[in-house]
Symmetry: C2
């Protein structure tokens, strides 16, 4: 398999964690987002959305969208599973994952931050407030669920890491980069730390990728 | 089942379509977003995120997040399926669905539009440009995929409606409300029209819900 991705992209980070958890090897194909390589003709011919990550499967098919890639990997390489057994438990894990994938990350994407500074003419302070506003709003709700719901264990759901943890860790890392105060979210922090003790999470971190920069 | 939802919420609309396609009946529990009912203590105790939709299952469990609800419904009430048979085809449909659910809708949510006008102090013209900017960017990529990929049929994937169509139709309806020019997207328009000929899509439309307003 080949993974078109960028070290700092948190959606790429999700897929790297899943590949590592499942023990899958892949070619790392860097797409430099800040240099605009995602808009090169070659990459757009593979992925018209011009976004990372994209996974090229063993058969040469291309899958865009990290959440679609994660479900594909779980269906195709089922061990260890990223989702629990029952539909209701699976719905819980997906709902935690989507709270990040649909309600935080899309608002704090590079292209959105650029739009605030470019067309809308805001400065970096406003950009930072924007970033922290959405993280704080949604992490507060996520913390409430994780702290209250009995299904939470060492990880977001029970004692094995899964789809929700895969989304959570890159979001926490991203949040720290923008100076989000993590003190109000002890359960999120505890789960993040439990994840970082697992080699698959640690090795997928941005700073450990071949295209990493300061 | 009970569906906490709002007539104009496009994520609620997705779930209404799926419930109707599967022939499932449910209690319609309106949550008036513009009046802030999603932030009432009663609703927050059910769904700490304060978002719609939430599905209460037959067993009384609560599932938030439309994409999690759709996968749950498809796993629990498999006929007719919302996803095709093979992992690769499922990945294609999910990637089309997430292109809308993760890359368009979250940016054009009511709370985000309110933030532009409130804290950021922009006028309605800037708000409208923002809305149309993200729709145009992503619909252009989606149109390219739908027009080029051989799996596209009468609907986004083959000749039966599924998860991608369920996300597409509410986004098109939403886009029209904000005067998005749909002329550059003939394949999206064609699929939208094919969907609207199906009773489940037509009956789920905002204007046909009990809480509909002008």
């Amino acid at each position: 398999m080949k993974l078109h991705n960028y070290f700092r992209s948190s959606t790429s980070y999700r897929v790297r964690i899943a590949l590592a958890l499942k023990g899958l090897t892949y070619d790392y194909l860097p797409i430099h987002l800040r240099k605009g390589e995602q808009r090169s003709a070659a990459y757009l011919s593979l992925n018209p959305q011009g976004a990372v990550p994209s996974l090229e499967t063993e058969e040469g098919a291309l899958i865009p969208q990290s959440m679609a890639i994660l479900e594909y990997l779980d269906e195709t390489y089922p061990e260890p599973p990223l989702l629990p057994d029952t539909p209701l438990a699976r719905a819980r894990v997906r709902s935690l994952a989507y709270a990040i994938a649909c309600d935080i990350h899309p608002l704090n994407n590079l292209r959105v931050l650029n739009y605030l500074v470019g067309p809308l003419g805001h400065d970096q302070a406003v950009q930072g407030e924007w970033f922290r506003h959405w993280v704080a709003l949604e992490f507060a709700a996520l913390e409430k669920r994780l702290a209250a719901e009995p299904e939470t264990g060492r990880f977001c759901h029970g004692d094995s890491p899964g789809l929700a943890d895969i989304c959570l860790v890159p979001q926490v890392v991203n949040g720290r980069r923008f100076d989000c105060d993590m003190a109000p979210y002890p359960t999120i922090q505890r789960i993040h730390e439990a994840c970082m003790e697992i080699a698959a999470f640690a090795e997928a971190a941005p700073e450990r990728q071949p295209d990493a920069e300061n």
